[in-house]
Assembly symmetry: C3
Amino acid sequence: MDEQEKPISLVLFSGTDDKLSAAAVLAVGAAAMGRPVNVFLQYYALDAFRSGKVTADHALSAEATIAQAPVIRAHPGLHWSELFKQAKDVGEVNIQACALSMEMFHLKQADLDPMVDGIEGVAAFMASASDGQVVFI
Amino acid sequence: MDEQEKPISLVLFSGTDDKLSAAAVLAVGAAAMGRPVNVFLQYYALDAFRSGKVTADHALSAEATIAQAPVIRAHPGLHWSELFKQAKDVGEVNIQACALSMEMFHLKQADLDPMVDGIEGVAAFMASASDGQVVFI
Amino acid sequence: MDEQEKPISLVLFSGTDDKLSAAAVLAVGAAAMGRPVNVFLQYYALDAFRSGKVTADHALSAEATIAQAPVIRAHPGLHWSELFKQAKDVGEVNIQACALSMEMFHLKQADLDPMVDGIEGVAAFMASASDGQVVFI
C-alpha cells in the first residue's frame, strides 16, 4: 500500500466547539491530500452530531480563559460542521457513530445529522483504521 | 512484521471514568483482533489505577453537562477496570506505570492495582510503541 | 525508510502545564531515540508558547482534584519549556505554529518564543507527519 493512501482515523470523544474545529481542520487537510479519513463518534462528540444540534453552542474546553474565549468565538471562518461537509466533498471521509455510545444515549441513526454515514462497533472501527494513524480528540 | 501484529500504544493521561471507559473499549477491541496493546499510565490515569481506588468514582470530563452526566452514569455495562482485565485475558495487553508520574505521586508498585504489570520510563515505552499507533487519551 | 526514522508528530491543542509536560516528555524520549519530532501548536498550546508567557502559570487540567494539584505542582523537575529545548538540543525537533490558530489569536511569529521554528498550515503539517505517528494532546 502506498504510504499516502493509509487512512487517518479520528476518534472524536470531546464535543466542544474548539476540539471539533481542530478535528475538522485535520480531516479537511488529510482529505485534501487524498488520504482516506475515518471518523468515529463517541460520547460528547456523538451528542454534538445530533440532528438539529450540530450548529448549537457546544461550549469551549474547560481550560479556555476569560481572555481567550471571546477571541476564539470571534474568529470568523467555517463552522466545524461545514468543514466536515467540505472534507466529505473533496475526499473519502467516512463518519461512523460508535454503537456503544449510541446505546448509552438511546439514539437511533435517524436522530443524527445526515453527514453521519452509519453506526459501527469498535472492532469494525479498528479494522478500518488498519495500520494508519489513530488520533483521539 | 505483519501489519496486524503492530502494537497499539495507549498513553493514558486522563483519569475520568468516561475517558478511561473509552480507552478500555479501544484496548478490548484491539486485543480481540490479536494486536499487542501497550498501556502507559501517566498523571490522573495513574492515580485512578491505585490499589483499592480503581472502582471509586473518578468523575466525568469537565465538559459533561447536567443533561449528559446522569445518562452516562446510568449506562449499564462493565466497569473500565473489568474491560481492561478482559482485554488482558483475551490478548497481549501490557500495562505500565510511567516512572516519572510514579515519582510525582510518591507511589511504589505495591500501591497500584495488580493489573499494572510494571513501571517503565518513557524511552522504554517509546521503544515498545515501535512503529505502531500511539494514542493519547 | 527505517522504521525508527519515521517521525512522531505531536499536535498540541491543550495549554495546561500538565499536558504540556506530558507532551514534552514524549518529545524528549522520541528525540533521544533519534526519531524526528514534529510539534504543531494550536489553540491554547499556541497561546502558552507566546514570548514571555512560556513560564507563566498555565494552570492544570480541569480534572485535577484539590488533593492532586499541590502534589503535581510540588514535583521538582525541568519545566516543560526546558524539556522542549533539551529535545531540540539532542534531536531533530521542529516546532511549528498552526497558521489558522495564529490568525485566530492575531499573532505574528515575533510574538512567539524563539523555540518556535515557524508557521505552517495543516497541509504542510500533514505532509511532514507522513506515515509516522500522530498524537493529539
